[in-house]
């Protein structure tokens, strides 16, 4: 059994505009000493799902199971959660300045956390451990820096202090939510290096949430790609980068400049991320997908194991043939054939687009977005998904 096993997690929030279904059935697991990367854009549900595990989404409607060492986190009472947070599961957030209390000295904040969870530890002992932790994460002169306030630390130092705090009680699992997004490249490299080293040393499980495919390529053992509150694809690291199946994963890779190095042009995914109130019918990605077929509009795909990959954990939620893996020409041919067969209804615009995929440039791509999603939730009241889709395609194809 894994350290953490999340099964069919669903989270929704009631808002005046309607019910926001932020997470819609996500399952994942992570073991000691391993790193799970969760990638997705804003609104994909990646942060909400982990915050829910920690009991940090008050007011949300939650269902599913999240077994941590066999006990369900989602049904645990507040007292038990308080014991788990910090001691068993540590958290590192994106913005260390808003996660550290501005009026308390850094050392004191770590010290208090130790004492809150271990009431038997004396003040001096807790202080010594706090200073020691600050030293471990590479803060120079830790005894002196422990007496300083968060504003006296640089961005990288603050993130180190956050890591020291997350590690102080030697948790079994660390959830890092965009831990390096606010940092410069050289500092990011230092922090990732530190996290890797400490993880190896303490045999911690790590969940790394980020939008940056570069960070994941460097850190994760397993990767979960999320889109519109669901898992689009899940695989070990290499298969995901080299043999992606889901068109969204492929699109992400092709719009990342460092992955597309050498390509003369980035290939952005047209359109905008979906509204989580009026979720598109069928596959949530279909309004932006270049391989959309008839059944994508009506049937919601489930995570199926892909075929022909040596990674048994590789699953993808897409109606394209399960052997169409990777960015190569063979896979592309398979996809095109499936799309031709899958489009029963006449879609002249879509067909034109299939004939000239290169033609969809940036300018045209937003014409898509302009029609489909610019006004956000307010404009998306029409349930006519098929029609909406047709219109969007038409714009792209006319390019």
């Amino acid at each position: 059994m894994s350290l953490l096993e999340v099964t069919d997690l669903r989270v929704s929030f009631s808002t005046p505009d309607g019910v926001v279904r932020a997470v819609r059935g996500v399952s994942f697991e992570v073991d000691r000493g391993r790193t799970l990367g969760i990638v997705g854009e804003s609104g994909s549900g990646k942060s909400v799902s982990t915050q829910t595990l920690m009991g940090l989404t008050p007011g949300a409607t939650v269902s599913g199971r999240a077994l941590f060492e066999g006990a369900d986190l989602l049904t645990a009472g507040e007292r038990r959660m308080r014991r788990i947070r910090g001691a068993e599961i540590g958290m590192i957030f994106q913005d260390p300045l808003s996660s550290l209390h501005p009026l308390y000295r850094v050392g004191r904040q770590i010290e208090e956390m130790i004492r809150a969870h271990e009431p038997d530890t004396g003040r001096d002992a807790a202080r010594r451990r706090a200073v020691e932790m600050l030293g471990t994460v590479g803060i120079p002169q830790p005894a002196r820096r422990a007496e300083e306030y968060p504003h006296q630390f640089s961005g990288g130092m603050r993130q180190r202090a956050m890591i020291a705090m997350a590690l102080a009680l030697n948790p079994k699992l660390i959830i890092a939510d965009e831990p390096t997004t606010a940092l410069d490249a050289t500092v990011q490299a230092q922090i990732l290096d530190l996290m890797r080293r400490l993880q190896r040393e303490y045999d911690t499980a790590l969940i790394m949430i980020t939008h940056d495919l570069g960070v994941i390529a460097d850190m994760a053992d397993d990767v979960l790609v999320m889109y519109g509150g669901k898992a689009a694809e899940k695989a070990r690291r290499r298969p995901l980068y080299y043999r992606p199946h889901h068109p969204y994963t492929k699109g992400l890779l092709q719009s990342t400049p460092s992955a597309a190095a050498g390509a003369d042009r980035l290939r952005p995914i047209p359109g905008q991320p979906p509204s989580l109130i009026d979720i598109p019918s069928g596959c949530v990605f279909h309004p932006r997908c270049e391989y959309v077929m008839d059944r994508c509009v009506t049937d919601e795909p489930v995570l199926d194991p892909v075929t022909g990959d040596d990674d048994p954990t590789h699953v993808s939620a897409c109606w394209l043939p399960l052997e169409a893996l990777g960015l190569g020409e063979d896979a592309e041919r398979l996809r095109r054939r499936a799309v031709e067969e899958g489009r029963v209804r006449a879609r002249p615009a879509a067909a034109a687009r299939g004939g000239a995929p290169e033609a969809s440039g940036a300018v045209d791509a937003t014409a898509d977005g302009g029609d489909g999603g610019d006004t956000g939730a307010a404009d998306r009241d029409g349930p006519a998904e098929g029609e909406d889709d047709g219109g969007t395609r038409g714009d792209g194809g006319a390019a």
């Binding site: 490299a189 495919l213 400049p257």
Partner: protein
Amino acid sequence: MNGDASGQGDVLVAVDDVYKHFPIKQGIVFKKEIGRVHAVDGVDLQVRRGETLGIVGESGCGKSTLARCITGLHQVTAGRILFEGDDITRLGRAGLKAFRRDVQMIFQDPYGSLNPRRRVGSIIGDPFAVHSIAGGAERKRRVQELMELVGLNPEHYNRFPAEFSGGQRQRIGVARALALKPKLIVCDEPVSALDVSIQAQVINLLKDLQDELGLTYVFIAHDLSVVRYVSDRVAVMYLGKVAEAAEAEVLYGRPRHPYTAALLSAASIADPDEAERAERIVLTGDVPSPIEPPSGCRFHPRCPKAADRCVREDPPLVPREGDPPDHVTACHFPVEPGERLAHKHAAIAQVSTQPELPEAEE
């Protein structure tokens, strides 16, 4: 991009030994200057017509301040900025107004740079109003043309910024910058607030517009792969100075300054095999304070190659042995091809920048 890659080209902007210092004052009545932030500290750069000059560097290196000096938003402390041969630091009111038609800026934050209470049409039409060009129906027609040019639906003329997504707001910013047909557009982190898939849309838009309208860009970003992708030439800044400048492919392929090498090695690569192969030069410590920059070469406290000379002498920004004339490096001991810096630590350590990291177990 497709600009004049043949070599010199003709110079649109020449930044000539520019300094920008911000005084730090203390006291309530008699404000006494107690120090200066050396934000830009002697920069020489040239931007050629039709090209994209990328400027990279970490936060606090002065890249945004330099951009604001080039657009005339900051008065320089010393030095000259020549735009088509005219020194803009000495322009009068009328001259400045004309200059500001030719130079526009695109900002990082698509939320903060648009007035939320004004309609998109009037935001994009602002440059026409400021310069008293085209009124009434003519202005509306031109604004709608601009909206179409950047891929916005012209029918959304009367909407408010809040009704648009992040990527579309950035397009509004681009349309506004294009209104007066400028010669130079300074883009300050134009895509860093956007999601990856949307970021690619905006980058492609900027590239298309450059091809179509023959624009010149100064493109500032901290994301090295984005800069490589859009730029013809790249300048690397560190603590207010240019450390190295060269054609993009040359700089990324064969960096000479140890800081450039470290910066490039730190960039994350979205490719597991390459990420594993990459040898990381992990710099210790943080960027020193620009209030009292280190003596000699500013990078010496963190540099794996630093020697005594680096502490005493500030290296000039000149072509180093074996480099083409437009590849300039400010370093006494440039990195040789094939040289490995990954396992070296800073040779001349400062206490404050040399944290004691536990050693890796490998």
